[in-house]
């Protein structure tokens, strides 16, 4: 198993800090190297979903779309993928703590 990449290589745009339109086409950071990091993929995907939901809310409020259920679907999807990401992160940290508590 490969070690965690340095923080600088995590090239993710955070939601809210940028215009969502530009970020959606950004490639996930793990595709650049040869080894794929599932956790980073998950994070990039959760981030993309967040950005997409922000864009959907933007277009609903500004009147560009009237499709309320589409917007709600995007938001719910984003919420759920974020929840999955948080849960995976918590499990990883928990197992790390477990390893740290081991007595040899």
């Amino acid at each position: 198993m490969s070690a965690l990449p340095p923080v600088a290589s995590v090239n993710v745009q955070s939601p809210g800090f940028s215009k969502p339109a530009q970020a959606i086409n950004a490639t996930p950071p793990s595709e650049q190297g040869g080894d794929r990091n599932i956790f980073l993929d998950l994070m990039a995907q959760a981030n993309d979903d967040q950005l997409r939901s922000e864009q959907a809310i933007d277009s609903l409020v500004s009147g560009k779309t009237e499709d309320v259920q589409q917007v709600v679907m995007e938001v719910v999807k984003a919420e759920m993928s974020f929840q999955v990401f948080m849960e995976v992160r918590n499990q990883i940290i928990e197992s790390y703590d477990e390893l740290m508590r081991m007595q040899f």
């Binding site: 809210g16 800090f17 409020v61 009147g63 938001v75 919420e79 948080m86």
Partner: protein
């Protein structure tokens, strides 16, 4: 305008604008029997911009002039009143749905944000 509160401010302004729209439509319904009363309509986009500008500059003036306009093409009754009650009730319902949508989206954004902060 960017930052972590961008979406919350945007949705807050939308909720604010729907609330103002509710006032205008209620006023129409209240004046259904007033002679000479003309139906008023709120320009939602203008209201939204106004409310966003107010939240950006932290203006304390909570009662600025509403961007209302008088729509054309409504049939006027003999007493000069052109309020169509059914149409206004439909507007009220539509606005209530919009309010519900915006406030629920706002609640879900805030929940996600809280979850991100507290982990």
């Amino acid at each position: 305008m960017n930052g972590i509160f961008y979406q919350i401010d945007l949705l807050g302004s939308a909720v604010d604008a729907t609330e103002k729209n509710h006032r205008v439509v209620s006023q129409n319904i209240a004046n259904v029997n007033t002679p000479g009363y003309q139906t008023k309509r709120l320009d939602f986009q203008k209201m939204l911009e106004q409310s966003q500008a107010a939240s950006q500059e932290n203006v304390t003036d909570r009662d600025p002039e509403l961007p209302v306009e008088l729509p054309e093409g409504l049939t006027e009754r003999l007493d000069g009143n052109n309020v169509n009650l059914e149409q206004e009730v439909a507007q009220l319902k539509k606005n209530a749905l919009a309010f519900q949508t915006y406030s629920q989206l706002l609640a879900s954004r805030i929940t996600t944000m809280r979850r991100a902060i507290s982990g």
